[in-house]
Structure formats: structure tokens, C-alpha cells
């Protein structure tokens, strides 16, 4: 890297353009009339293509140069100024490109997948908006700004999961995802507050120079980690992700595989310097639990998308473990590779679902096309999709010559390096990760077997054709980048150009790990083949150990009870207090009213009455009664005499 790189105007333009195109897509999607809604899809894809090109320029220009930073005051409050800033380094430039690129591919895919959908404008609008928000997280050089985009991402995710909101499950799942994310975000906000209290800055570059106070830093980093747990669907806030699969499949590919759930890992890598050793341990353990849980649960699922969702959980867990092991490079590498192959898997699964749906539509046969028990033998009917599935599935499983092998290798190497010499609990983590990688192979190939091999059952009588080219092209591109060649020249050495350039750590490469990993994976492949017919029918696994129910029982219920209690308290005490206050005010009002009537009005009336009394009194002198005149005259004379003579 050179010392100070001056960025051209063109770079800035491209940076702004990369962010502006998705936003433009979002805005334009509302302006196109309902009648020509197909224009929306094409236009949005085109705009995203432009955005991808712009981000490619950004990546090209920013790669291996000193970070581009831009900062200006956003608002000031109580004498503190809050700045908003951009921070583009290798990681964020690469991430920006991947996000925009995958988003473009998903847009393109959606043109075919969502054709004829009633809410297509809303769909593409929210897709554009999501892309913009996600890009915001990536380029933001400021935690506060990150948080804002973080929330926007959550919102657009909510909108997209609930795209088919007329289905109760979708509405439920979107609500759920939003609320569970909110729980994590509360922790994130607390972490941000602690950071602010200590550094009076949200700027990531400035925070790096912050003196470390271990206790507070641990708390702050754990708070931020809470947000990451929510967004990246880590244990214990993972349950929303499998449920979110009711959304459109491209959305699952984009949001719940490639970008949004990766945002947590990305942020974790970005603020890695904030994490102290204890909190990193927490991170590693949480990641490990998630990885295991996801892998085991994926084994038992029947729904294609659910399998992929649990697999995503598991892979995210692996990334988090790598981060906890102090290797953001490995985590990010896995994040990037995973973004491609998992998006590819989702798109391929979407292709299967889409084509079967359409075939069902024609033949009026109805069964759950997402259930792999109804599938089988589709290889003949969908050879292209099968190929894609195999390539991306191999990458997920981590077979050699795929990107997944490289990144998994990186994680394992990092863990081996992290556990150090001797026996400790870290070895357990390593073992768990090894088990996860083993299980990954098993469930991946079981799924592929069930869908494409064997004999056709329910689909036998359906006329199934390959998806249209507009859907096949993105799948092909993504499958292509699932190969090793894009990440490292040597298929057995993960420390290629990308790994070296996304972190400062010296590449540590152990050939033994690579070989062991390869052997391990192939062993797993064999196991997968022999157990392909075995149904892991445990309802525990199917429901992710009933964690949902556990949450419901032990978290939701007490919270609801607490809510009822506080509601009661609110009703009884606070409302009572308010009522009492209101009543007291009423009483005071009555008192003042009485005072007004009796004293103030009384005073006035009294004066008037006194005047009237005096008047009638004096008038009585003029009563026309002669004797009375005499009386008063005499009275006056007496007074006069007494006054003068006595």
C-alpha cells in the first residue's frame, strides 16, 4: 500500500454512483405505472448493473491503496458533533462490489422468478432499497451511520420477508425477524453508548486509537456483538432465519445468504479491534454453538430452503468462530466465498421450486415442492440446475477445487493456530468445527441426492423444463465464482490475493491442515453416500432442538407475564396516580371555582350589595315619610350636639 493515495474525482463519482443507482431504482420503481410493471424489473436490473460497474471501478481504484475517508459533520447535539463518514479500504471495497454484484444477479434472476407477481414494483423497490442500505453499512466509516443503515437493512428485510404478506406465515415470519433483530439491536445501541461515553466518537478510524479500558471495552464489544447475533442469526437469536424462508427465494439468496446476515460478520470484522480477549471467547463459543446447531438441524430438514437456512446458520457460525479465534481474514474470506456459493445454492433451489411450481400450475397437481421427500430423479429433467447445484454444493461442503475448500481451510488453519500447543477448551471448538464441516458435507449431498438422484415420485407426471435464461445466467455466474480460481491460484493454498489483502496478519499456511481437510471431506462424502437413504427423522433436529419452544416457554412467557404485570402496574398505579392527579385537579378546580364564586364574585357582589344596601339605606332617608325625616333630623342634631358640646 502506498502512503497516501489521492483519489480522483472519477473514483468519488463512481462511489456515489454505486450507492445512488440502487436508491434510484428504489425511487423509480414507484413511478412506473402498474400496467407496465415489467419495466420495473428490467429497469431495476439495468440500474443495478450500472451500480455493479461503478462499484467495480471503486474496487479497482481503491484496491491496495490507502483507505479513502470522507467525513463531515452530520449534526451536533449538546456540544458534541456527530459526523457521518465514508471509509473505503480493501475489505469494504470488495464487500461493496460483492453486495452490488450479487444484488444485480439476484435482480436479474428475479426478473424471471417474480414475473407476473402482483407486488413486483414493491418487490423491486425494496430490493433496491435493501441494496442501498446494505451498501451503506459497508461503506460507512462511522458506527452511528452504520447503525442507521443497519436498521434500514432490518426494515427492508422485514418488507421483503413479508412480501407475500397475505400468507399468514409470511406476515408472522417478517414480524418475527424484525422483532428478534430489535432485541439484538438494543444490545448494539447499548454498546454504542458505551463506546461514545468512552471515546466521544463513532468514527471507526478514531476509535482505533482509543485507550483500552478492558472492562468497559468488553461490555461495549459484547453489546455490539448482541446486534451482530441478531443480524447474523447466531445463537440464541437465530430462530428468525429459518422462518424467514417463507419470503421469495431470491430474497433469501440475497438477504439471508449473501449480504444481510453477512453484515453482522462484516461489522464484527470491522470493529474487531474493539473486542477484548474475554469477549472474543464469548464470540467463539457462540459461533461454535450456532455452527453445530445449524449443521445438525440441517440434517433433519425436509424443506430445501430450510436446509439451506440452517446451513447458512452453520456457516455464519463458522465465520463467527473464526472471528472469535482472532482471524478476521479467514472469516471474511469465508464470508466472500459463502456469499457466492450460498446465493448460488439458493438460486438453484429457487430454480427447482420455480420450475416445479410452473409445472404444477399446468398439470393441476398439488404437493409441497419444497419438501425433498416429494422430489427425486430430477437430474434428467433439470441437468443445468443439477450441475449448478453440484458445483455450489461442493463449495458449501468444502470439496477441493472450490472456493469453499479454501475458506474452510483458512478457518481451520486459524483455529489450529489459535488453539496453540497443549490441551484446552479451544480444542473442543476445533473439534466441533471439524464436525460441522463433516456434517456439512453429509447434509449437502443428502439434499442433492434426494432432489436429483433416485427415482421420481411426485414429479414423475409433471412436465418440467429448465428455467429461462434470465434465471440461468446469474446461477451460472455464481457457480463460476464458486470455483477456487477467483480466490487463489493454488487450489490448496487459501492465502491467495484476496486473503493477503484483506488483513494485516501474516499468512500462516499449513499444508497438513489442507491435506487433512481434504481427506476429511472426502471421508464425509463417503459417509454421505452410504447414509443417503437414512432419514434423520428426529423431531428435535427438525425443530432445531425446539429452541423456539424453549424461547417461548422461558423467555416469551416470563416477558409476557412481566408485561402483564407492568401493564397492571401501569393501569393500577400509574393510571391511578394520573387519575388521582386528575381528580385532585378537579377538586382544586372546584375549590377555585367555589373560591371564585364565593370570594371573588362574592367580593364583587358584596361591593355591589354594599352599595345597594347603602343606597337603600340612604334612600330610606328620602322615604317621603315626614316622621322619618324628623327622626333623622333629630338624630343628626343629637350627633351634632354630642360632637360639639360634649
Amino acid at each position: 500500500m502506498d502512503a497516501i493515495h489521492t483519489y480522483s474525482f472519477f473514483f468519488r463519482f463512481c462511489l456515489v454512483a454505486a450507492l445512488a443507482f440502487p436508491l434510484l431504482s428504489f425511487a423509480l420503481s414507484f413511478y412506473i405505472s402498474e400496467k407496465y410493471s415489467w419495466i420495473t424489473s428490467v429497469l431495476a436490473s439495468f440500474l443495478l448493473l450500472l451500480g455493479t460497474l461503478a462499484s467495480a471501478v471503486v474496487l479497482y481504484q481503491a484496491w491496495n491503496h490507502s483507505p479513502f475517508t470522507y467525513q463531515r459533520e452530520w449534526f451536533s447535539l449538546a456540544g458534541y458533533s456527530f459526523s457521518a463518514g465514508l471509509h473505503i479500504n480493501n475489505i469494504s471495497a470488495l464487500m461493496l462490489f460483492i453486495v452490488t454484484g450479487v444484488s444485480f444477479l439476484v435482480h436479474l434472476y428475479s426478473v424471471g422468478y417474480m414475473a407476473g407477481d402482483a407486488g413486483i414494483q414493491r418487490y423491486f423497490a425494496m430490493l433496491g432499497f435493501f441494496t442501498f442500505a446494505m451498501q451503506g453499512i459497508v461503506v460507512s466509516g462511522n458506527l452511528l451511520m452504520t447503525f442507521v443503515f443497519w436498521e434500514l437493512v432490518g426494515f427492508s428485510s422485514y418488507m421483503l420477508i413479508g412480501h407475500w404478506h397475505e400468507i399468514p406465515a409470511a406476515a408472522e415470519a417478517s414480524k418475527r425477524a424484525f422483532i428478534i433483530n430489535r432485541v439484538g439491536d438494543a444490545g448494539f445501541l447499548v454498546g454504542l453508548m458505551i463506546v461514545w461515553a468512552h471515546g466521544h466518537s463513532f468514527d471507526i478510524a478514531a476509535l482505533q486509537q482509543l485507550p483500552v479500558d478492558p472492562t468497559w471495552m468488553t461490555l461495549a464489544s459484547l453489546g455490539i456483538f448482541c446486534g451482530i447475533v441478531g443480524k447474523s442469526a447466531q445463537f440464541p437469536l437465530f430462530t428468525w432465519l429459518p422462518d424467514a424462508m417463507v419470503g421469495p427465494t431470491p430474497v433469501s439468496a440475497l438477504i439471508h445468504a449473501a449480504t444481510m446476515v453477512a453484515a453482522g460478520v462484516f461489522l464484527l470484522a470491522r470493529v474487531h479491534f474493539l473486542f477484548t480477549v474475554p469477549s472474543l471467547h464469548v464470540v467463539a463459543v457462540v459461533g461454535c454453538i450456532t455452527a453445530l446447531l445449524g449443521a445438525v438441524s440441517a440434517l433433519a430438514q425436509h424443506d430445501i430452503k430450510k436446509i439451506l437456512a440452517y446451513s447458512t446458520l452453520s456457516q455464519l457460525g463458522l465465520m463467527v468462530v473464526a472471528l472469535g479465534a482472532g482471524s478476521p481474514q479467514a472469516a471474511l474470506l469465508h464470508l466472500f466465498t459463502h456469499a457466492f456459493f450460498k446465493a448460488c445454492l439458493f438460486l438453484a433451489a429457487g430454480a427447482v421450486i420455480h420450475t416445479l411450481h410452473q409445472a404444477q400450475h399446468q398439470s393441476h397437481v398439488h404437493f409441497d415442492v419444497q419438501d425433498i421427500r416429494n422430489l427425486g430423479g430430477l437430474q434428467k429433467k433439470l441437468p443445468f440446475t443439477f450441475l449448478i447445484f453440484v458445483i455450489s454444493g461442493s463449495a458449501l461442503a468444502g470439496l477441493p477445487f472450490t472456493s469453499g475448500f479454501l475458506s474452510k481451510d483458512a478457518i481451520l488453519t486459524a483455529l489450529v493456530q489459535w488453539k496453540g500447543e497443549g490441551f484446552s477448551w479451544k480444542l473442543l471448538i476445533l473439534a466441533a468445527v471439524a464436525l460441522v464441516s463433516f456434517l456439512t458435507v453429509v447434509y449437502t449431498f443428502r439434499m442433492i441426492w434426494k432432489i436429483f438422484k433416485g427415482t421420481e415420485t411426485a414429479t414423475a407426471r409433471l412436465y418440467v423444463s429448465e428455467p429461462p435464461a434470465v434465471m440461468r445466467a446469474p446461477m451460472a455466474v455464481l457457480a463460476g465464482v464458486s470455483l477456487w480460481i477467483w480466490f487463489s491460484w493454488n487450489p490448496f493454498d487459501f492465502s491467495g490475493w484476496m486473503y493477503v489483502n484483506i488483513g494485516e496478519a501474516k499468512p500462516f499456511h499449513s499444508g497438513i491442515v489442507s491435506i487433512a481437510s481434504a481427506v476429511w471431506v472426502i471421508l464425509a462424502l463417503g459417509v454421505a453416500y452410504f447414509t443417503r437413504q437414512v432419514a434423520f427423522g428426529s423431531s428435535w433436529l427438525l425443530n432445531a432442538f425446539y429452541f423456539d419452544r424453549f424461547l417461548k416457554q422461558f423467555v416469551e412467557k416470563p416477558i409476557l407475564q412481566l408485561a402483564a404485570l407492568t401493564h397492571h402496574a401501569d393501569k393500577k398505579w400509574i393510571d391511578g396516580f394520573l387519575h388521582a392527579t386528575a381528580y385532585a385537579q378537579l377538586v382544586v378546580a372546584h375549590l377555585t371555582g367555589w373560591f371564585d364564586r364565593a370570594i371573588v364574585d362574592g367580593l364583587v357582589d358584596g361591593v355591589a350589595g354594599a352599595a345597594r344596601g347603602l343606597g337603600s339605606f340612604t334612600r330610606s332617608f328620602q322615604g317621603g315619610k315626614i316622621q322619618l325625616y324628623i327622626f333623622w333630623a333629630t338624630f343628626g342634631i343629637i350627633i351634632f350636639i354630642i360632637w360639639t358640646l360634649l
Binding site: Q627, F631, T634, I638, L645, L646
Partner: protein, 172 residues
Amino acid sequence: MNAPSFLFYFFEIIAAGAAGALLFVRNVFYGALLVIAVLLALAGLYILAFAEFVAVTQILVYAGGILVVIIFGIMLTTRLGGKPLVIEHTRSISATLVGLAFFGTLVYLLSREPFEAHPAKAAASTPLDTTQTLGVLLMSDYVLPFETAGILLLMALIGAAVIASERKSKKV
């Protein structure tokens, strides 16, 4: 106590008693009679104060003239049927209070003053025949007031007659 002193207190008691009874009496005719009693008692006192002419005038004019006129007035204002004219009292309390206050004030003021006889004049001889002296004075020193009083009487006579006369024709 000699005879004149006795007579003096006798007349005083009669006058005071009749005046006091007048306060409570409700029949106008009795009231008029009580006033006559007071006037006669006062005539007696005048005599005791060496004012024979005044006393005689009192009896003639007051008791014999004014009171008779008043009794005529009583008779004229009483409705037909011969029922005695009984009246009510009003403002008894305030009237009593004023009366008492006035009386108290006067008594207090009078009692403060000694009212001794003028020593120089006391030596001078009192004219034995005040009636003659008064007659001379009326025709000499007080002739103008005397004539004026005559005119006043005439005017009162004519005025009374005019006022009291019936003027039905002018009534609307």
C-alpha cells in the same frame, strides 16, 4: 317645704305624668285631654314663676282655643259612626332611643351649667304688676312685633279657611 314649693312640684308631676302618659295613649281624644292637662299644669308653673300674663294667655289661647280647634279636627277626621279614633305606633324603638338620647343630652348639658341669678339684677326690684308692664312694653318697645303678629294671625286665619275649604270643582 313651703306651699309654693309644694305647688311647684305638684304641677311638675302633673305635667310630666301627663306628658309621659301621652306617649302610651292610643286614643287621640284622650291624648288631646292629656295635652290639656299638661298645658294647665304649665300655666300653674308660669304663675309660680311670676308670669301671670303668660299663664292666663296659656289658658285662654292654648287650652281654650288651640285644643278646642284640635278636638274639632279630631272629630272631623274620625269616620262616621262615633267610633273613637284609635291609632298605632310606628318606629317605637328608634323614637324611644332618639327621645332618650335627646333627653339625656339635654339633662347632661343643663346640669353642667349653674344658671345662677344675675347678682346685679337680682337686687333690682321685680315689678309687681307684670301685666301692666307687659302691656306698656307691647305698646311701646314691642309694637312692631305686636302688629306683625296681628298680621300673621290674620294671614293664618284666612289661610286656614282657604286651605280647609271644599274645592271640589278643581278636583280632577
